[in-house]
Symmetry: C2
Subunit: 336 residues, 2 copies
Amino acid sequence: MASKPSVSAHDVAERAGVSRSAVSRTFTPGASVAPETRERVLKAADELGYHVNHLARGLMRRESGIVCLIVSDAATPYRSALLRELTIHLQNAGKVVMLINTDRSDDSVGQALRQAIRYQADASIILSGLPDKSITQLCLKNGQRLVLINRDDDQPGPLKINLNDEEASSRIALAFERAGCRHVAFANSDARTPSLMARERGFSKAAEALGLEVTVERYGWTGYEAGKVLAHRLLTRKIRPEAVFCATDLLACGFMDAARHEFGLSIPGQLCVAGFDDIEQAGWESYQLTTFAQPLASIAEAAVSWLCSAPEETAMSVPSVLIEPQLIWRKSVRGG
Amino acid sequence: MASKPSVSAHDVAERAGVSRSAVSRTFTPGASVAPETRERVLKAADELGYHVNHLARGLMRRESGIVCLIVSDAATPYRSALLRELTIHLQNAGKVVMLINTDRSDDSVGQALRQAIRYQADASIILSGLPDKSITQLCLKNGQRLVLINRDDDQPGPLKINLNDEEASSRIALAFERAGCRHVAFANSDARTPSLMARERGFSKAAEALGLEVTVERYGWTGYEAGKVLAHRLLTRKIRPEAVFCATDLLACGFMDAARHEFGLSIPGQLCVAGFDDIEQAGWESYQLTTFAQPLASIAEAAVSWLCSAPEETAMSVPSVLIEPQLIWRKSVRGG
DNA sequence: GTCACGCTTGCAAGCGTGTGCAAAGACTGC
DNA sequence: GCAGTCTTTGCACACGCTTGCAAGCGTGAC
């Protein structure tokens, strides 16, 4: 196959009998071009199979139309759902997404951002890792906009989208108390992500305020297997908790499976379980997990509309959005 | 923030006291540049925070380093796992991935490919939709390489990676027969994807050859809910099948949940169930599903190494790879 | 001393586009 | 018919980079 079949605006101009500028203007919304020439150009372009070269356009406009999505654990139910939502919203806004995975090394987020800069990305959305100050500034210094989701960074510049984890978690404590549970527990991973810690804090404080006995356990990576381990640790205690709030639905699924199949407990009869995220599996018949739904569409909406707004607007807007999770009552907690 | 903080090779050259070419060559592997100048350039580049502009580089080299991933149902466990694997492999190969979602309209794959062409993508990998001939050719005509995964297109040009669905499915028929089942069923979605149909075909043929009674049911979108509906349809028949092969793990999860919680059946005691894909949930305690694992790493490996090989090599190579799924025995089928 | 050779380096010509500027043309109102 | 206004168009430069070409330089062999 020929490696240089590329037809440029010059070719189209020649065929349509106009100047190259006319071609350029035809494909530039809002440019001044006569309807007749426009049509001639479009016809010639179609016949030749012409496509505007966005690399060159990006070079001129100093705006590539590229938005980087920097993500780890992309195959996880919650992350993949958020990823999908963001991708669709960005596409609808005429942006194109560049996906960067940061599962591997420690500096992988830095590497990713450097890559983003090389491609002149207009913006980056970070769903992973703890971007430290230097990295964030590297990004801003190169003229990118930055969105941090559930990252709780306190520097000015990036848009910060956060869930009201703490308040939501306190509502679960109340629900446990109403279900008649005295000994409750929080099952967390050992990732110590800001949002995970906020959930732990919110739940513990509220439970203690209600006079409940609360124990906290942390273990491993935020996934199904860790949930099973946490179940072993918590359910073999002298005083077994009657209700457990898992920091994540994935943890909750592992926890429930271990509780049922290895400890023979009935849920919610002998044990109440709640989770966070409302991943698809939370609604499956085997779990029917009471949990908090993250309004993914709202999150994506907020991120994209900020990215696409005019510079002067974003300079004025409050660079922080707080989103309320929605409690989904199913059958893993008594009452409701 | 300044929107034009971009430092170009010219600036670096000036600071290092060399020509622009020297800077360019410093960042071009294999170019002729004296160690001493190289070092001076690197120092200056670091001080100024210089990054090569890949848009401009792509413009000159006629090779952008961009690979498009065109995908639908990206939030599905199987798809997101494959997506992750591909992304990581591509990154390791020095490529950058552009993600395009095609959940929406009918022509969305066409739109996606057009977008890919505009950004001069070196290649596209299609995990979704039925790309018809015109679209495929559009892609090749513009000098892109194309990889089709589980798409079974028969034109020359693209690399086709397929699973040996038919042969694998026949092994499940045998397993059911050995488990002592006489009436078996195949639960499929109504998507009629080539690979889904191949599984149906392989299973049916093999089951009939073994003298089993086989019924096929198809319904809806390939997801959990469809699995539940399929269970209702198949388990309310006069002669209830003793074993069901679901075209997909997601279908199988829905099927198992309905079979257990709505029909009170024990698995594998009263009903054998098998699936395909080996999604993470298949290994969860609640399912323990016997299924076929897709060697995702091998798939990604094959795709990426073909994409990165020299043109003359790919012209000679057989543009088709057949991959053997691996049977994972768990507890949803008797025997094993 | 000379010549050939190899390694570096600067020059300049592109790559495909957007856009300011000025000129040309069309049209209106008088 | 003419001045004034508005629309359309082409020219030419800029964007940041790569790379062929030829010149410069140092080295070693004869």
